[in-house]
Protein backbone atom coordinates (compact mmCIF):
# COMPACT_ATOMS: atom_id res chain seq x y z
CA UNK A 1 0.00 0.00 0.00
CA UNK A 2 1.63 3.24 -1.15
CA UNK A 3 -0.45 5.67 0.90
CA UNK A 4 -2.28 5.12 4.19
CA UNK A 5 -6.02 5.86 4.46
CA UNK A 6 -5.22 8.88 6.67
CA UNK A 7 -2.57 10.35 4.37
CA UNK A 8 -4.87 9.97 1.35
CA UNK A 9 -7.67 11.73 3.27
CA UNK A 10 -5.34 14.54 4.33
CA UNK A 11 -3.98 14.94 0.77
CA UNK A 12 -7.55 15.51 -0.41
CA UNK A 13 -8.18 17.95 2.43
CA UNK A 14 -5.06 19.94 1.42
CA UNK A 15 -6.90 20.48 -1.89
CA UNK A 16 -10.09 21.55 -0.01
CA UNK A 17 -11.82 18.25 -0.79
CA UNK A 18 -13.71 16.38 1.94
CA UNK A 19 -13.12 12.76 0.93
CA UNK A 20 -14.82 9.61 2.12
CA UNK A 21 -14.96 6.00 1.02
CA UNK A 22 -17.63 3.63 -0.25
CA UNK A 23 -17.82 -0.13 0.11
CA UNK A 24 -17.05 -1.37 -3.41
CA UNK A 25 -19.70 -4.11 -3.10
CA UNK A 26 -22.58 -2.48 -1.24
CA UNK A 27 -21.96 1.19 -2.02
CA UNK A 28 -22.38 2.08 1.67
CA UNK A 29 -20.53 5.23 2.75
CA UNK A 30 -17.63 4.57 5.14
CA UNK A 31 -15.98 7.08 7.46
CA UNK A 32 -13.29 7.24 8.94
CA UNK A 33 -11.13 5.99 6.04
CA UNK A 34 -9.96 2.37 6.32
CA UNK A 35 -8.03 -0.37 4.54
CA UNK A 36 -11.07 -2.66 4.17
CA UNK A 37 -14.80 -2.09 4.57
CA UNK A 38 -16.41 -2.89 7.94
CA UNK A 39 -18.70 -5.97 8.05
CA UNK A 40 -18.17 -7.04 4.42
CA UNK A 41 -14.36 -6.82 4.24
CA UNK A 42 -14.77 -5.47 0.72
CA UNK A 43 -12.43 -3.07 -1.06
CA UNK A 44 -13.07 0.66 -0.69
CA UNK A 45 -13.27 3.40 -3.28
CA UNK A 46 -12.62 7.11 -2.65
CA UNK A 47 -15.25 9.80 -3.31
CA UNK A 48 -15.60 13.58 -2.93
CA UNK A 49 -18.31 14.85 -0.61
CA UNK A 50 -20.39 17.84 -1.73
CA UNK A 51 -19.64 19.19 1.75
CA UNK A 52 -23.25 19.70 2.84
CA UNK A 53 -24.57 18.18 6.02
CA UNK A 54 -26.77 18.42 9.09
CA UNK A 55 -25.83 18.82 12.75
CA UNK A 56 -26.62 15.46 14.40
CA UNK A 57 -25.48 16.22 17.96
CA UNK A 58 -23.78 19.16 19.63
CA UNK A 59 -22.05 20.18 22.84
CA UNK A 60 -20.24 23.23 24.15
CA UNK A 61 -16.98 22.45 25.92
CA UNK A 62 -16.14 24.75 28.85
CA UNK A 63 -12.37 24.54 29.38
CA UNK A 64 -10.98 25.51 32.79
CA UNK A 65 -8.99 28.18 30.93
CA UNK A 66 -10.11 29.82 27.71
CA UNK A 67 -13.37 30.38 25.90
CA UNK A 68 -16.15 27.80 25.46
CA UNK A 69 -16.19 26.13 22.04
CA UNK A 70 -18.41 23.87 19.98
CA UNK A 71 -17.92 20.16 19.23
CA UNK A 72 -20.50 18.55 16.97
CA UNK A 73 -21.26 15.40 15.04
CA UNK A 74 -22.18 16.18 11.43
CA UNK A 75 -24.16 13.88 9.14
CA UNK A 76 -22.98 14.47 5.58
CA UNK A 77 -25.59 14.15 2.84
CA UNK A 78 -23.69 11.22 1.29
CA UNK A 79 -24.49 9.12 4.37
CA UNK A 80 -21.51 9.33 6.68
CA UNK A 81 -20.98 10.98 10.05
CA UNK A 82 -17.95 12.79 11.41
CA UNK A 83 -16.84 14.86 14.39
CA UNK A 84 -16.20 18.52 13.68
CA UNK A 85 -17.32 21.96 14.87
CA UNK A 86 -19.61 24.68 13.60
CA UNK A 87 -17.91 28.07 13.22
CA UNK A 88 -19.09 31.65 12.53
CA UNK A 89 -21.82 31.50 15.20
CA UNK A 90 -21.77 31.32 19.00
CA UNK A 91 -21.07 27.74 20.20
CA UNK A 92 -24.36 27.82 22.15
CA UNK A 93 -26.27 28.77 18.96
CA UNK A 94 -25.45 25.48 17.22
CA UNK A 95 -28.64 23.42 16.96
CA UNK A 96 -29.39 19.81 16.06
CA UNK A 97 -30.89 19.73 12.57
CA UNK A 98 -29.03 22.87 11.39
CA UNK A 99 -27.80 22.67 7.79
CA UNK A 100 -24.05 23.26 7.55
CA UNK A 101 -21.37 23.51 4.88
CA UNK A 102 -17.77 22.30 4.92
CA UNK A 103 -14.59 24.33 4.64
CA UNK A 104 -10.97 23.53 5.32
CA UNK A 105 -9.36 24.97 8.44
CA UNK A 106 -5.57 25.20 8.38
CA UNK A 107 -4.25 25.50 11.94
CA UNK A 108 -0.73 26.28 10.68
CA UNK A 109 2.62 25.02 11.87
CA UNK A 110 2.95 21.25 11.68
CA UNK A 111 -0.77 20.69 12.27
CA UNK A 112 -2.66 19.02 9.42
CA UNK A 113 -5.78 20.69 7.95
CA UNK A 114 -9.16 19.80 9.47
CA UNK A 115 -12.69 19.95 8.08
CA UNK A 116 -14.93 22.47 9.87
CA UNK A 117 -18.46 23.61 9.12
CA UNK A 118 -20.47 26.85 9.06
CA UNK A 119 -24.22 27.50 8.72
CA UNK A 120 -25.27 26.76 5.12
CA UNK A 121 -27.75 29.68 5.18
CA UNK A 122 -24.86 32.09 5.71
CA UNK A 123 -23.87 31.72 2.06
CA UNK A 124 -22.07 29.27 -0.14
Amino acid sequence: MDASPLSTYLDFLEKDILAFQRDAETGAAVFYPRVIAPRTGAALTWHHSAGLGTVHATTVVHPQQGEPYNVALIDLDEGFRMMSRVEDIAPTAVRIGMRVRFRTHRPGGDEPPIPVFFPAEAGA
Binding site: L6, F31, Y32, H56, A57, T58, T59, V60, V61, H62, P63, P68, Y69, V71, A72, L73, R81, M82, M83, S84, R85, T92, I96, G97, P107, E111, P112, I114
Partner: protein, 388 residues
Protein backbone atom coordinates in the same frame (compact mmCIF):
# COMPACT_ATOMS: atom_id res chain seq x y z
CA UNK B 1 -22.71 -14.44 14.07
CA UNK B 2 -24.15 -15.62 17.40
CA UNK B 3 -23.47 -13.55 20.53
CA UNK B 4 -19.97 -14.06 21.95
CA UNK B 5 -21.03 -15.37 25.34
CA UNK B 6 -24.19 -17.26 24.37
CA UNK B 7 -23.00 -20.84 25.12
CA UNK B 8 -22.18 -20.13 28.78
CA UNK B 9 -24.09 -22.25 31.32
CA UNK B 10 -26.56 -20.47 33.66
CA UNK B 11 -25.26 -20.63 37.24
CA UNK B 12 -21.98 -22.15 36.04
CA UNK B 13 -19.98 -20.14 38.59
CA UNK B 14 -20.53 -18.25 41.81
CA UNK B 15 -18.97 -15.17 43.38
CA UNK B 16 -17.67 -16.45 46.72
CA UNK B 17 -15.59 -13.52 47.93
CA UNK B 18 -15.62 -9.77 47.44
CA UNK B 19 -13.62 -6.82 48.70
CA UNK B 20 -12.74 -3.24 47.97
CA UNK B 21 -9.11 -2.19 48.30
CA UNK B 22 -8.35 1.17 49.89
CA UNK B 23 -10.55 3.74 48.15
CA UNK B 24 -10.71 7.46 47.61
CA UNK B 25 -7.23 8.89 48.03
CA UNK B 26 -4.79 6.06 48.75
CA UNK B 27 -1.37 6.27 50.41
CA UNK B 28 1.39 7.96 48.43
CA UNK B 29 3.35 5.67 46.08
CA UNK B 30 0.74 2.90 46.16
CA UNK B 31 0.69 1.16 42.77
CA UNK B 32 -2.36 -0.21 40.93
CA UNK B 33 -0.93 -3.71 41.46
CA UNK B 34 -0.62 -3.03 45.23
CA UNK B 35 -4.35 -2.26 45.22
CA UNK B 36 -5.17 -5.41 43.22
CA UNK B 37 -3.16 -7.52 45.67
CA UNK B 38 -4.84 -5.84 48.64
CA UNK B 39 -8.26 -6.47 47.09
CA UNK B 40 -7.44 -10.13 46.41
CA UNK B 41 -6.12 -10.64 49.94
CA UNK B 42 -9.27 -9.14 51.46
CA UNK B 43 -11.60 -11.05 49.11
CA UNK B 44 -9.82 -14.33 49.96
CA UNK B 45 -10.24 -13.50 53.65
CA UNK B 46 -13.92 -12.79 52.98
CA UNK B 47 -14.55 -16.32 51.66
CA UNK B 48 -11.92 -18.25 53.63
CA UNK B 49 -9.56 -19.22 50.80
CA UNK B 50 -5.78 -18.70 50.65
CA UNK B 51 -3.59 -17.14 47.97
CA UNK B 52 -2.20 -20.62 47.17
CA UNK B 53 -5.73 -21.65 46.14
CA UNK B 54 -5.85 -19.03 43.37
CA UNK B 55 -5.13 -20.50 39.93
CA UNK B 56 -6.83 -17.93 37.70
CA UNK B 57 -6.00 -14.22 37.42
CA UNK B 58 -8.30 -11.79 35.59
CA UNK B 59 -7.37 -8.13 35.79
CA UNK B 60 -7.35 -4.76 34.07
CA UNK B 61 -5.95 -1.31 34.79
CA UNK B 62 -5.01 1.62 32.56
CA UNK B 63 -1.73 1.99 34.44
CA UNK B 64 0.04 -1.28 33.52
CA UNK B 65 0.27 -2.39 29.89
CA UNK B 66 0.65 -6.07 30.83
CA UNK B 67 -1.26 -6.14 34.10
CA UNK B 68 -1.76 -9.94 34.29
CA UNK B 69 1.98 -10.40 33.93
CA UNK B 70 2.64 -7.84 36.66
CA UNK B 71 0.02 -9.38 38.94
CA UNK B 72 1.30 -12.96 38.40
CA UNK B 73 4.80 -11.78 39.31
CA UNK B 74 3.63 -9.80 42.34
CA UNK B 75 1.61 -12.71 43.72
CA UNK B 76 4.17 -15.38 42.76
CA UNK B 77 1.65 -17.39 40.72
CA UNK B 78 3.55 -18.47 37.58
CA UNK B 79 1.10 -21.24 36.70
CA UNK B 80 -2.09 -19.20 36.95
CA UNK B 81 -4.47 -19.00 34.01
CA UNK B 82 -4.47 -15.33 33.01
CA UNK B 83 -6.80 -12.96 31.17
CA UNK B 84 -6.24 -9.21 31.04
CA UNK B 85 -9.01 -8.34 28.62
CA UNK B 86 -9.48 -4.58 28.76
CA UNK B 87 -12.52 -2.88 27.23
CA UNK B 88 -12.71 0.04 29.66
CA UNK B 89 -15.00 0.15 32.66
CA UNK B 90 -16.97 -2.96 31.68
CA UNK B 91 -13.83 -5.13 31.65
CA UNK B 92 -14.81 -6.80 34.92
CA UNK B 93 -18.28 -7.87 33.76
CA UNK B 94 -16.45 -9.45 30.80
CA UNK B 95 -13.97 -11.05 33.23
CA UNK B 96 -16.85 -12.66 35.14
CA UNK B 97 -18.05 -14.28 31.90
CA UNK B 98 -14.52 -15.35 31.01
CA UNK B 99 -13.92 -16.72 34.52
CA UNK B 100 -17.16 -18.70 34.29
CA UNK B 101 -16.03 -20.10 30.92
CA UNK B 102 -12.55 -20.95 32.26
CA UNK B 103 -13.97 -22.67 35.35
CA UNK B 104 -16.51 -24.53 33.21
CA UNK B 105 -13.69 -25.67 30.87
CA UNK B 106 -11.48 -26.74 33.78
CA UNK B 107 -8.80 -24.12 33.02
CA UNK B 108 -8.89 -22.83 36.60
CA UNK B 109 -10.87 -23.44 39.78
CA UNK B 110 -10.37 -20.29 41.88
CA UNK B 111 -10.47 -17.14 39.76
CA UNK B 112 -9.44 -13.79 41.21
CA UNK B 113 -10.79 -10.78 39.29
CA UNK B 114 -8.91 -7.64 40.28
CA UNK B 115 -8.68 -3.92 39.61
CA UNK B 116 -6.50 -1.10 40.85
CA UNK B 117 -6.12 2.57 39.99
CA UNK B 118 -4.33 5.53 41.51
CA UNK B 119 -5.74 8.10 39.07
CA UNK B 120 -6.53 10.66 41.75
CA UNK B 121 -3.03 10.49 43.20
CA UNK B 122 -1.12 10.55 39.91
CA UNK B 123 -3.64 12.63 37.91
CA UNK B 124 -6.18 11.46 35.36
CA UNK B 125 -3.99 12.43 32.40
CA UNK B 126 -1.13 10.35 33.76
CA UNK B 127 -3.29 7.37 34.72
CA UNK B 128 -5.13 7.07 31.43
CA UNK B 129 -3.22 8.40 28.43
CA UNK B 130 -5.69 9.15 25.66
CA UNK B 131 -4.77 7.86 22.21
CA UNK B 132 -4.57 10.44 19.43
CA UNK B 133 -7.49 10.06 17.04
CA UNK B 134 -6.83 12.12 13.87
CA UNK B 135 -10.60 12.28 13.18
CA UNK B 136 -11.58 13.57 16.66
CA UNK B 137 -8.64 14.92 18.69
CA UNK B 138 -8.15 18.11 16.56
CA UNK B 139 -11.68 19.23 17.56
CA UNK B 140 -10.71 19.05 21.26
CA UNK B 141 -13.68 17.11 22.67
CA UNK B 142 -13.23 16.96 26.46
CA UNK B 143 -13.23 13.17 26.65
CA UNK B 144 -14.92 11.20 27.90
CA UNK B 145 -17.46 13.86 29.03
CA UNK B 146 -18.08 15.44 25.61
CA UNK B 147 -18.89 12.06 24.02
CA UNK B 148 -21.62 11.39 26.59
CA UNK B 149 -22.76 15.01 26.28
CA UNK B 150 -23.29 14.52 22.54
CA UNK B 151 -25.43 11.45 23.29
CA UNK B 152 -27.35 13.48 25.89
CA UNK B 153 -27.97 16.29 23.38
CA UNK B 154 -29.51 13.76 21.02
CA UNK B 155 -31.64 12.15 23.75
CA UNK B 156 -32.95 15.57 24.84
CA UNK B 157 -33.68 16.50 21.21
CA UNK B 158 -35.53 13.27 20.33
CA UNK B 159 -37.33 12.49 23.56
CA UNK B 160 -37.67 15.78 25.43
CA UNK B 161 -35.43 14.62 28.25
CA UNK B 162 -34.80 17.63 30.48
CA UNK B 163 -31.83 19.14 32.28
CA UNK B 164 -33.71 18.52 35.56
CA UNK B 165 -34.22 14.82 34.76
CA UNK B 166 -30.48 14.39 34.16
CA UNK B 167 -29.85 16.08 37.51
CA UNK B 168 -32.30 13.69 39.22
CA UNK B 169 -29.85 10.85 38.48
CA UNK B 170 -27.04 12.60 40.36
CA UNK B 171 -29.34 13.56 43.23
CA UNK B 172 -30.60 9.96 43.62
CA UNK B 173 -27.03 8.62 43.57
CA UNK B 174 -26.08 11.09 46.31
CA UNK B 175 -29.07 10.09 48.44
CA UNK B 176 -27.90 6.46 48.27
CA UNK B 177 -24.31 7.53 49.02
CA UNK B 178 -25.52 9.20 52.21
CA UNK B 179 -26.50 5.69 53.38
CA UNK B 180 -23.08 4.25 52.48
CA UNK B 181 -20.29 5.06 54.95
CA UNK B 182 -17.68 4.09 52.32
CA UNK B 183 -18.92 6.66 49.75
CA UNK B 184 -16.51 9.43 48.76
CA UNK B 185 -19.02 12.29 48.48
CA UNK B 186 -21.96 12.29 50.94
CA UNK B 187 -22.69 16.02 51.03
CA UNK B 188 -26.28 17.11 50.40
CA UNK B 189 -27.06 17.67 46.72
CA UNK B 190 -30.15 19.16 45.06
CA UNK B 191 -31.28 19.41 41.44
CA UNK B 192 -30.54 23.13 41.59
CA UNK B 193 -27.01 22.40 42.89
CA UNK B 194 -26.32 20.06 39.95
CA UNK B 195 -27.52 22.59 37.37
CA UNK B 196 -25.66 25.52 38.95
CA UNK B 197 -22.34 23.64 39.24
CA UNK B 198 -19.34 24.41 37.02
CA UNK B 199 -20.20 23.63 33.36
CA UNK B 200 -18.02 20.96 31.73
CA UNK B 201 -19.52 20.00 28.37
CA UNK B 202 -23.15 21.02 27.78
CA UNK B 203 -25.57 19.83 29.08
CA UNK B 204 -23.26 18.47 31.81
CA UNK B 205 -21.89 20.28 34.80
CA UNK B 206 -19.25 18.72 37.02
CA UNK B 207 -22.07 17.12 39.10
CA UNK B 208 -23.27 15.15 36.07
CA UNK B 209 -19.80 13.59 35.83
CA UNK B 210 -18.33 10.67 37.76
CA UNK B 211 -15.90 11.25 40.57
CA UNK B 212 -12.13 11.07 40.12
CA UNK B 213 -10.83 8.82 42.88
CA UNK B 214 -8.28 6.08 43.51
CA UNK B 215 -9.46 2.59 44.28
CA UNK B 216 -9.62 -1.06 43.42
CA UNK B 217 -10.89 -4.39 44.62
CA UNK B 218 -11.36 -8.03 43.80
CA UNK B 219 -13.86 -10.84 43.36
CA UNK B 220 -13.22 -14.54 43.98
CA UNK B 221 -15.15 -16.71 41.51
CA UNK B 222 -15.42 -20.49 41.89
CA UNK B 223 -17.59 -23.39 40.74
CA UNK B 224 -21.05 -23.41 42.42
CA UNK B 225 -20.45 -26.56 44.47
CA UNK B 226 -17.20 -25.12 45.81
CA UNK B 227 -18.92 -21.87 46.71
CA UNK B 228 -21.49 -23.73 48.79
CA UNK B 229 -18.66 -25.17 50.93
CA UNK B 230 -17.23 -21.71 51.70
CA UNK B 231 -18.18 -19.33 54.48
CA UNK B 232 -20.27 -16.80 52.55
CA UNK B 233 -23.69 -17.14 50.97
CA UNK B 234 -22.91 -17.85 47.29
CA UNK B 235 -24.05 -15.42 44.63
CA UNK B 236 -24.52 -17.22 41.32
CA UNK B 237 -23.68 -15.93 37.87
CA UNK B 238 -26.99 -16.42 36.07
CA UNK B 239 -26.51 -14.41 32.92
CA UNK B 240 -23.78 -12.73 30.87
CA UNK B 241 -23.80 -10.62 27.73
CA UNK B 242 -21.58 -8.22 25.86
CA UNK B 243 -21.67 -5.94 22.84
CA UNK B 244 -19.01 -3.58 21.49
CA UNK B 245 -20.64 -1.16 19.05
CA UNK B 246 -17.80 1.33 18.51
CA UNK B 247 -14.68 2.82 20.10
CA UNK B 248 -15.05 6.54 19.25
CA UNK B 249 -18.28 8.48 19.68
CA UNK B 250 -18.31 9.57 16.02
CA UNK B 251 -18.65 5.87 15.09
CA UNK B 252 -21.51 5.05 17.50
CA UNK B 253 -24.29 3.62 15.30
CA UNK B 254 -27.14 5.34 17.21
CA UNK B 255 -26.34 7.88 19.93
CA UNK B 256 -29.47 7.05 21.94
CA UNK B 257 -29.38 3.24 21.70
CA UNK B 258 -26.41 1.51 23.33
CA UNK B 259 -25.00 -2.00 23.05
CA UNK B 260 -26.75 -2.65 26.37
CA UNK B 261 -29.76 -3.70 24.27
CA UNK B 262 -27.82 -6.67 22.86
CA UNK B 263 -25.75 -7.33 25.99
CA UNK B 264 -28.85 -7.24 28.20
CA UNK B 265 -30.85 -9.48 25.87
CA UNK B 266 -28.07 -12.10 25.94
CA UNK B 267 -27.84 -11.93 29.71
CA UNK B 268 -31.61 -12.14 30.26
CA UNK B 269 -31.85 -15.10 27.85
CA UNK B 270 -29.08 -16.99 29.66
CA UNK B 271 -30.55 -16.14 33.08
CA UNK B 272 -34.10 -16.98 31.97
CA UNK B 273 -35.21 -13.75 33.65
CA UNK B 274 -36.95 -10.57 32.54
CA UNK B 275 -36.39 -7.00 33.75
CA UNK B 276 -39.53 -7.25 35.93
CA UNK B 277 -37.84 -10.02 37.93
CA UNK B 278 -34.71 -7.96 38.75
CA UNK B 279 -34.52 -6.66 42.33
CA UNK B 280 -31.56 -4.30 41.98
CA UNK B 281 -30.11 -2.46 38.99
CA UNK B 282 -26.44 -1.51 39.20
CA UNK B 283 -25.94 0.63 36.08
CA UNK B 284 -22.57 2.17 35.24
CA UNK B 285 -23.20 5.89 35.85
CA UNK B 286 -20.11 7.55 34.43
CA UNK B 287 -22.42 10.44 33.50
CA UNK B 288 -26.04 11.13 34.37
CA UNK B 289 -27.25 10.22 30.85
CA UNK B 290 -25.87 6.67 31.33
CA UNK B 291 -28.43 5.66 33.92
CA UNK B 292 -31.27 6.91 31.72
CA UNK B 293 -29.94 5.09 28.63
CA UNK B 294 -29.35 1.83 30.48
CA UNK B 295 -32.78 1.86 32.19
CA UNK B 296 -34.24 2.01 28.69
CA UNK B 297 -31.85 -0.37 26.95
CA UNK B 298 -32.11 -3.02 29.69
CA UNK B 299 -35.90 -2.94 29.52
CA UNK B 300 -36.86 -1.14 32.73
CA UNK B 301 -38.78 1.44 30.69
CA UNK B 302 -39.49 2.08 27.00
CA UNK B 303 -36.95 3.88 24.78
CA UNK B 304 -37.16 7.61 25.36
CA UNK B 305 -38.92 7.31 28.72
CA UNK B 306 -35.77 7.14 30.88
CA UNK B 307 -35.85 10.81 31.84
CA UNK B 308 -39.45 10.63 32.97
CA UNK B 309 -38.75 7.26 34.66
CA UNK B 310 -36.12 8.76 37.01
CA UNK B 311 -38.16 11.90 37.86
CA UNK B 312 -39.51 12.59 41.36
CA UNK B 313 -36.98 10.42 43.18
CA UNK B 314 -38.03 7.19 41.45
CA UNK B 315 -34.51 5.69 41.64
CA UNK B 316 -33.59 7.29 44.99
CA UNK B 317 -34.05 5.40 48.29
CA UNK B 318 -37.74 4.53 48.66
CA UNK B 319 -38.33 4.86 44.91
CA UNK B 320 -39.88 2.42 42.47
CA UNK B 321 -36.60 0.70 41.50
CA UNK B 322 -33.39 0.36 43.52
CA UNK B 323 -30.61 1.72 41.29
CA UNK B 324 -26.93 2.22 42.16
CA UNK B 325 -27.41 1.73 45.88
CA UNK B 326 -23.72 2.27 46.73
CA UNK B 327 -23.94 5.85 45.44
CA UNK B 328 -22.57 4.95 42.00
CA UNK B 329 -19.68 6.37 40.07
CA UNK B 330 -21.28 9.76 40.68
CA UNK B 331 -20.97 9.67 44.49
CA UNK B 332 -19.43 6.39 45.81
CA UNK B 333 -16.13 6.17 43.95
CA UNK B 334 -14.82 6.19 40.38
CA UNK B 335 -11.19 5.25 39.87
CA UNK B 336 -11.56 5.27 36.05
CA UNK B 337 -12.88 1.76 35.35
CA UNK B 338 -15.72 1.41 37.84
CA UNK B 339 -17.34 -1.84 36.63
CA UNK B 340 -15.93 -4.01 39.42
CA UNK B 341 -17.78 -1.98 42.06
CA UNK B 342 -21.15 -2.69 40.42
CA UNK B 343 -20.52 -6.39 41.03
CA UNK B 344 -19.24 -5.88 44.59
CA UNK B 345 -22.34 -3.87 45.54
CA UNK B 346 -24.70 -6.37 43.85
CA UNK B 347 -23.12 -9.21 45.85
CA UNK B 348 -23.30 -7.26 49.11
CA UNK B 349 -26.97 -6.56 48.49
CA UNK B 350 -27.77 -10.16 47.54
CA UNK B 351 -26.01 -11.38 50.68
CA UNK B 352 -28.10 -8.95 52.73
CA UNK B 353 -24.97 -7.19 54.00
CA UNK B 354 -25.63 -3.66 52.72
CA UNK B 355 -26.52 -2.10 56.08
CA UNK B 356 -28.55 1.09 56.00
CA UNK B 357 -28.96 0.93 52.22
CA UNK B 358 -30.04 -2.74 52.11
CA UNK B 359 -32.80 -3.43 49.59
CA UNK B 360 -35.09 -5.89 51.40
CA UNK B 361 -35.98 -9.31 50.05
CA UNK B 362 -34.09 -9.32 46.74
CA UNK B 363 -32.78 -12.48 45.05
CA UNK B 364 -31.62 -11.06 41.71
CA UNK B 365 -29.49 -8.14 40.57
CA UNK B 366 -28.20 -6.84 37.26
CA UNK B 367 -24.73 -5.31 37.04
CA UNK B 368 -24.32 -3.44 33.79
CA UNK B 369 -20.82 -2.27 32.84
CA UNK B 370 -19.99 0.45 30.35
CA UNK B 371 -16.58 0.95 28.75
CA UNK B 372 -15.07 3.68 26.60
CA UNK B 373 -17.65 6.21 25.38
CA UNK B 374 -20.83 4.08 25.56
CA UNK B 375 -18.67 1.63 23.56
CA UNK B 376 -18.22 -1.70 25.32
CA UNK B 377 -21.39 -2.84 27.10
CA UNK B 378 -21.29 -5.90 29.33
CA UNK B 379 -24.08 -7.25 31.52
CA UNK B 380 -23.92 -9.70 34.43
CA UNK B 381 -27.08 -11.02 36.10
CA UNK B 382 -26.52 -12.38 39.58
CA UNK B 383 -28.79 -14.28 41.94
CA UNK B 384 -29.01 -16.08 45.26
CA UNK B 385 -29.81 -19.80 45.69
CA UNK B 386 -33.50 -18.83 45.59
CA UNK B 387 -33.05 -17.59 42.00
CA UNK B 388 -31.18 -20.68 40.76
Amino acid sequence: MSPALSPLPRGGAAIAGIACSDLGAVAAQMSPIDLMAQGISRALEDCGLRLADVDGLFCATTQARTSAMSLAEYLGLPDAYTDSTIVGGSSFEVHVAHALAAIDAGLCSVAAIAYGSTQRTVGRRQASVREYNPYETPFRPFLPASAYALAASRHMHLYGTTREQLAEVAVAARAWAQRNPAAWDRRPLSIADVIAARPVSDPFTVRDCCLVTDGGGALIVVAPERARALRRKPVYVLGCGQSITHASISSMPDLTVTGAVAAGAQAYRMAKLSPREIGLAMLYDAFTINTILFLEDLGFCPKGEGGRFVADGAIAPGGRLAVNTNGGGLSFCHPGMYGLFLLIEAVQQLRGEAGERQVPGIHTAIAHGNGGVLSAQATTILGTAEAL
